[in-house]
């Protein structure tokens, strides 16, 4: 049994007012802890897809899946396997930048295939996409320059082989 690891769960849900509230209310009531949450339209009309990252062992994840499935507005739930999936997150990072440090920051961004999407006299905004490790490493490297603001979308995942 895998204990307390980050697990990714996706759910296909009705795109109706209050659905997100129903889902988060169930998470809160049953004591499940959400590390990240991403919501967006799916390939089907009137249906959204949600991706949750939660901490827990197999028993917790099983309960969570069953309780999600119980909700009338939830159509389909699956736990992403830890392998054979593409996992991505987008972040915008505002970092302190002076004329002296700008060049170094651009170099770091390049290494991470990140883009500079905004520049002001004393800061820059970097856009980066990737998995959690990549986000964390970039943030660590930028800390020395002064991290002013970090905005992350939450992880989304997709199985490499088949439609979920």
């Amino acid at each position: 049994m895998r204990t307390n690891m980050a697990r990714t769960i996706t759910a296909l849900v009705q795109d109706k007012p209050g659905v997100l509230n129903r889902i988060t209310s169930m998470f809160r009531r049953r004591g499940f802890n959400i590390s990240s949450l991403a919501v967006g339209l799916s390939e089907k009309p009137n249906l959204s897809r949600m991706t949750f990252v939660v901490q827990g062992d197999d028993a917790v994840v099983e309960q969570l899946l069953k309780n999600l499935e119980k909700l009338i507005d939830v159509l389909k739930v699956s736990a992403a396997p830890s392998e054979d999936v593409v996992s991505r997150e987008l972040a915008l990072i505002r970092v302190s930048a002076t004329p002296d440090t700008r060049k170094e920051i651009v170099q770091i961004a390049d290494i991470f295939r990140a883009h500079i999407v905004g520049v002001s006299p004393d800061s820059m905004i970097i856009e980066v996409a990737g998995d959690d490790d990549k986000m964390t490493s970039l943030q660590d490297l930028l800390k020395g320059y002064g991290l002013l603001e970090v905005m992350r979308t939450g992880t989304i995942v997709m199985h490499r082989g088949k439609a979920s």
Binding site: G18, R22, Q63, I72
Partner: protein, 566 residues
């Protein structure tokens, strides 16, 4: 033909076979009320407090198997329903609740009597709706009944703004409901059923633990056939009581915190536990790591999220109890376990949990036993929550399905009076006894006025010990008899109270008055209050303290003599 929202609601209810609604009007729901005279087939029972409406609809549903309906106005009307909705949700009771809401343009403005009731009831309903157009009403109400009464049943709330009741629209009523996100599993998996049959074949000490689900799916005959064919003793949970006749040779009663010692011990000693339509509640399992450690477990349950929640099982079978039990009856071998049956008989003899000690005092257990005999086990018993509830569960002999009605999961004191009212409305030809505590009775006793007005002849037996008795018992056992805030030193005179309501009141203080009082109450035409002034500090035995095991059971100190009650 154009109809307004109120008319659509009433017609939808009639299409669902609803014959009675419990409710109380107010501003936001008034347009619905004003359409009622057009629908004389829809009986409305005007309650004194909305909690009473919700409990009555719940009692109606438990007694009939059909969804109960309650409605109330916005704001405080809606919030007063909340205890009743939570009670129904915990016990999976099919109910449709309609609330008035402030007009659409006022929603979100903190308008007079505005409360976000769909937000409040999110965790205590199976589903809920806020309907923003009259044209959606036929679909929503059909869905509400479908969701409430299928799969694992539960309450569904429909919140309707005042101006939606007034809005006129052309509508058609749907014949079928098809929800893509809601398809309960009914038929059990064949492979799992075969695995279960193998376990039944091999078992030497099997027991069935039957719960509320057997009653929901009305699987009484299938349960009895399986028990008899494979000779498996049957234990029932609190809410499973009455799904298997207690005068049957294979009946072993209720286990758990206040269950019969022999039932808890039989589970402990079993090598196969066949759990049907139940959820391994903490009151039954005590310590989850110690519960029935040596038994293989089969769990038949319609709600997949209950499987593996508290207890891990060997063979889970998701589906409807009636279908799955029928398959098990067909596939299981004819078996006998004479040693095991004898062992249970011995356990019953060595742990006589239902003996009543010899005394001159008026004991609650004695009253329930007398009531069971006087009614020939044929009444419907509705209780509140606490000591009297446990004594009723223990000492009444239940032989008819749906004859024991009680708030199990939520443990809502105050259920006894309005709950019994709903039961009597649903079963007008039955004798309905509300066994009440003096505490719970006073929480909702206002509904006696409703009973008088609507000629609902519930017989109320107050087991009056002038205490919040179960809490007092906990204080005695676990807090060195420090009785903080559990004594009612000045209860009203319940006989005079009966007279004030215009009904018969009888006080009983001695054993020899019990039988005649019960008979007098049943001969009287309307509702009755019988005030049984009982031994105040009597305890419910046995008791397995919270979270502990069958080995920590406190049994009643052995008395030299027990009463023969005839």
């Amino acid at each position: 033909m154009k109809r307004n929202g109120g008319q659509i609601v009433c017609e939808s209810l009639l299409r669902q076979g609803v014959d009675v609604v419990f409710g109380l009007p107010g501003g936001a729901i008034l347009p619905l009320y004003q359409t009622l005279p057009e629908y004389p087939q829809l009986r409305h029972i005007l309650v004194r407090h909305e909690q009473g409406a919700a409990h009555a609809a719940d009692g109606y549903a438990r007694a009939t198997g059909r969804p109960g309906v309650a409605w109330a106005t916005s704001g405080p009307g809606a919030t007063n329903l909340v205890t009743g909705i939570a009670t129904a949700h915990m016990d999976s009771i099919p109910m449709v609740i309609i609330t008035g809401q402030v007009s659409r343009d006022a929603i979100g403005s903190d308008a007079f009597q505005e409360t976000d009731i769909t937000g409040i009831t999110l965790p205590i309903t199976k589903h809920n709706y806020l309907v923003m157009n009259a044209s959606e009403l036929p679909g929503v109400i059909a869905e509400a009944f479908h969701i409430a009464s299928t799969g694992r049943p539960g309450p569904v709330l429909v919140d309707i703004p005042k101006d939606v009741f007034v809005e006129e629209t052309e509508v058609s009523f749907p014949d079928i409901v098809d929800l893509i996100g809601y398809k309960p599993t009914i038929k059990g998996n064949d492979r799992q059923i075969k695995r279960a049959v193998k376990l039944i074949e091999k078992a030497k000490r099997p027991v069935i633990l039957a719960g509320h689900g057997v009653i929901f799916s009305e699987a009484y005959n299938e349960l009895k056939s399986l028990a008899e064919k494979a000779q498996i003793p049957v234990i029932t949970t609190l809410l499973g009581i009455s799904c298997f006749p207690e005068d049957h040779v294979l009946s072993v009663g209720m286990p758990g915190m206040h269950g019969m010692a022999y039932a808890s011990l039989a589970i402990e000693e079993s090598d196969l536990l066949l759990a049907v339509g139940m959820r391994f509640d903490d009151r039954i399992i005590g310590n989850p790591t110690e519960f029935a450690k040596d038994s293989k477990k089969i769990h038949i349950e319609i709600d997949p999220s209950e499987i593996g929640k508290n207890i891990s099982v060997d063979v889970p079978i998701v589906g409807d109890a009636k279908h799955i039990l029928a398959a098990l009856v067909e596939l299981s071998p004819t078996k006998t376990h004479p040693d095991w049956v004898k062992r249970i008989t011995d356990l019953k003899r060595s742990h006589p949990s239902l003996d009543i000690r010899a005394t001159d005092k008026l004991l609650p257990q004695f009253i329930i036993k007398k009531l069971s005999m006087a009614t020939n086990g044929d009444a419907i018993i509705v209780t509140g929550v606490g000591q009297h509830q446990m004594w009723a569960a223990q000492y009444y002999t239940f032989t008819n399905p749906r004859s024991f009605i009680t708030s199990g999961g939520a443990g809502s004191m105050g259920y006894e009076v309005p709950g019994a009212m709903g039961v009597q409305v649903g079963q007008p030809n039955k004798t309905v006894w509300s066994i009440a505590g003096d505490g719970g009775f006073q929480m909702t006793m206002c509904e006696i006025a409703t009973m008088v007005e609507n000629k609902i002849p519930v017989k109320i037996a107050i087991i009056n010990n002038n205490f919040l008795g179960m809490v007092r018992q906990w204080q005695q056992f676990f807090y060195e008899s420090s009785y903080v805030a559990t004594e009612y030193s000045h209860n009203p005179d319940f006989v005079k109270l009966a007279e004030a309501f215009g009904i018969l009141g009888i006080r009983v203080t001695k054993q020899d008055q019990v039988e005649s009082a019960i008979n007098q109450a049943m001969e009287y035409e309307g509702p009755v209050i019988v005030d049984f002034v009982v031994e105040a500090e009597e305890n419910v035995y046995p008791m397995i303290p919270s979270g502990q095991t069958v080995h920590d059971m406190i049994e009643e100190p052995r008395h030299s003599e027990s009463q023969r009650i005839s």
